[in-house]
Amino acid sequence: MKFMHWWHVCRDFMRRLSGDDAYERYLEHYEAMHAETLNPPPRLSRKEFFAYWQEQKWNGVNRCC
């Protein structure tokens, strides 16, 4: 029981850190912000979202010496 708990904590941490769960978080954000509004922006598919997310993530200083 305890072991499974720590396993989940570690897995969630790794997923969050690597961006593995970025689409799920996008969906949460979308539901929270736009689902109930009148003219919601189009909901991106997993593939569309990831392409956009990746493009944005690597535009700028994100690595150092």
Partner: protein, 691 residues
């Protein structure tokens, strides 16, 4: 109740007192040891005690008394939350992102080169510099940027000092990028030179990155962990396959090259990587390098703590007088220029004023992320110092001394190193090269190979001697992977900056998506570092001798600019009495950087002064004492030395302009004259519940 509280307090004080005593003892042990060798655990103990005390007391004092960190204040991530770049994030996640971003190959290379002075100067600078300088700079910059909606260092310099500071920061950053990439490229080239195993493994990382990129883009979109795991497995297979190629006569010759063709390969690769879409090469490579980096650092830490190797390098060598073989220049100021990342690195201020402040959920996380990450990076630098100094000093100098200093033949190189008083034999070097699966380990200047030998010997004593050559090439591949990541990312950042500048002249050229502008600006940036890489490769003294000090000066210049911005803001906001927190490290950096630059430009010693070296070579060319091979490259080397002198003067001019600007703004404020108003965003209470 009351009694147990005060008991607790006494107990805590006693524990901290014990940490202080143990730490002081360990530092004393390192500093005063004059025996044959000293155990690496002394270094680890000293570092951990110093970090703990600095983090618990100095960093807390700075956040509560100087910066006035406010837990009730909403951060930009909360106020501007858009689910994309501004997102309140768990502090451990932010810590992971921030550390992965600041820790590149720099802290591994600098300490290895600085080991030519002995283990002591570099170690003390890594510990003291990080605690009083680097971590303070990172934390203050992170705090200031957080209070300004995550604005960049350049923007903050413009807002708080004026347009001059802003332009200086932009130019400084672009210049560092160019020099940094050139020197990193040179390190990779020196590791691959006539090493089919290393070359084939490094080449294999390119298709592996593409496979991972396609996997997470099209095959299983967004499955980052799965794709990265696949990539790591493929990388390990590539290291093993490199061993097979090395023993295959036909395949072997395909990957056995001189420095120059390898350098041209790196330049072409850099250009391709800069104009290809990020998802194809840069992003997947970055995932691989981040996982490899964190994994290898962890493995190295475990191995050092478990095996407790003996450091064989003396505390000080005779090269503190400036006659060192790896780079010329005396202990002061050059150890402080050589070890930049790991002690204080201006580059970090770009990360601390970029992505990270947009993720902070609460201001109280600033100490852990700004100060804590830098302490961890300092620890990485310390491990690199240990890995370099566990080698026999004779072996260390044989690997790292360029052929132009010790001689091209193994016998002459060994004789020169023996004459310095360091025992090493030709047979010993041959046996070592054979064990590592290389034809030779002589003159592999740059730090990567000697670090790889150090890491391989530490790893193999933990995981078995038979794998020595595998571990050596694993270490080479590991360094190459994230050096190439920095090369890709740096070229791209340089391109954006250049397009930003060009946009002032032609709107079209400033568009980051207009393809001709992308190709033109990429070519200019790649041409910039490609030039320095090319010169570094044809230089018989190894090029690192020239490029690393230039990089150090540039990086410390950027750190000084960041500290100038911090000091000016402290003074402008009425905290003059605390201005020394950033002012003292600034004063030290200015002293070190200006002295180093002065010596690099004006020293009469041909191994230090750029002009002296240029004049010396011109005189020898005129006198006809050069070999035909040297005559061919002499004009280019002479031109390059003169160019480097101008570049150094440019760096110092930029630095002093920013300092004078900071002093001007501070003086005006103190005498009641108008200054640019603070760009801090007004207070807004946080509504996020405490985690």
């Amino acid at each position: 109740m009351h009694e147990s509280k005060s008991m607790n307090k006494i107990l805590k004080s006693l524990i901290w007192l014990a940490i202080a005593i143990i730490g002081a003892g360990a530092v004393g042990g390192i500093a005063l040891n004059r025996g044959e060798s000293i155990n690496a655990m002394w270094f680890i103990t000293a570092a951990v005690c110093i970090y703990l005390i600095a983090y618990r007391f100095y960093a807390v004092w700075i956040t509560t008394k100087v910066l006035l960190v406010d837990e009730t204040r909403a951060t930009p991530a909360e106020r501007l939350n858009n689910g994309r770049d501004y997102v309140p994030t768990n502090r451990w996640i932010v810590f992971g992102h921030h550390f992965a971003a600041i820790a590149g190959p720099g802290p591994l290379i600098g300490p290895t080169l600085a080991a030519q002075f002995g283990y002591l100067p570099g170690t003390l600078w890594i510990l003291i510099g990080a605690v009083l300088g680097g971590a303070v700079q990172d934390m203050v910059t992170l705090f200031l940027s957080t209070r300004r909606n995550g604005r960049s260092l350049g923007q903050m310099a413009r807002d708080e000092l004026g347009p001059i500071g802003g332009v200086a920061a932009l130019l400084g950053t672009l210049a560092i990028m160019i020099i940094l990439i050139a020197v990193l490229g040179l390190v990779v080239v020196n590791a691959m030179k006539h090493s089919p195993w290393a070359t084939s493994t490094v080449v294999a990382t390119i298709p592996i990155a593409v496979i991972v990129g396609l996997y997470m883009r099209s095959f299983r979109p967004g499955n980052v962990l799965e794709a990265s795991l696949l990539g790591v497995v493929l990388l390990l297979l590539a290291v093993a396959a490199g061993g097979w190629i090395d023993h295959h006569p036909g395949m072997r010759s395909l990957f056995d090259h001189d420095g120059l063709p390898l350098a041209i390969g790196v330049i072409l690769y850099g250009f391709a990587a800069a104009i290809l879409p990020v998802w194809l090469l840069l992003a997947p490579r970055d995932y691989l390098s981040t996982f490899m980096k964190l994994g290898t650092i962890l493995l190295l830490a475990i191995a050092i703590i478990a095996l407790q190797p003996e450091v064989k390098m003396p505390a000080l060598t005779q090269f503190i007088d400036g006659s060192g073989p790896i780079f010329g220049g005396a202990l002061f100021p050059f150890v402080f220029i050589t070890v930049a990342c790991g002690a204080i690195s201006g580059f970090h201020s770009l990360i601390a004023s970029g992505t990270t402040p947009k993720l902070l959920a609460n201001e109280r996380d600033i100490r852990m992320i700004g100060y804590g990450s830098m302490l961890l990076e300092s620890f990485v630098a310390l491990m690199a110092m240990i890995a370099a100094t566990v080698l026999d000093p004779g072996v260390f100098f044989a690997i790292n001394s360029p052929a132009g200093v010790v001689g091209r033949e193994a016998a002459t190189a060994v004789a020169t190193i023996n004459s310095w008083g360091y025992a090493v034999t030709v047979e010993q070097m041959e046996a070592l090269a054979r064990q590592m699966g290389e034809s030779t380990l002589f003159a592999r200047t740059g730090g990567a190979p000697s670090l790889a030998v150090g890491m391989a010997s530490i790893f193999s004593s933990a995981f078995g001697q038979s794998l020595l050559s595998f571990w050596y090439h694993f270490a080479i591949m590991f360094e190459a992977v994230f050096i190439l990541t920095t090369l890709d990312a740096g070229t791209r950042v340089g391109r954006f900056m250049l397009q930003d500048i060009l946009g002032n002249f032609s709107r079209r050229l400033g568009e980051t998506s207009w393809y001709p502008s992308v190709v033109l600006s990429s070519a200019l940036v790649v041409g910039g570092w490609g030039y320095f890489l090319y010169i570094g490769v044809i230089d018989p003294n190894g090029g690192v001798n020239i490029l690393w000090p230039l990089f150090g000066i540039a990086n410390q210049m950027l750190a000084a600019i960041a500290l100038c911005v911090g000091t000016a803001i402290l003074i402008k906001s009425g905290r003059l009495k605390y201005a020394w927190v950033t002012g003292l490290p600034l004063l030290w950096l200015v002293t070190v950087t200006s002295t180093a630059a002065w010596q690099k430009v004006f020293s009469a010693d041909v191994r230090i002064g750029f002009h002296a070296a240029a004049n010396d070579m011109a005189a020898r060319l005129a006198a006809g004492t050069l070999t035909p091979e040297q005559v061919r490259v002499a004009p280019q080397l002479i031109f390059n030395q003169q160019l480097d002198a101008w570049l150094t003067m440019f760096f110092i001019a930029v630095l002093w302009i920013v300092i004078l600007d900071m002093l001007r703004v501070s003086y005006r404020h103190l005498t009641g004259k108008p200054v640019p108003v603070s760009s801090e965003t007004p207070y807004q209470a946080t509504r996020l519940a405490r985690e």
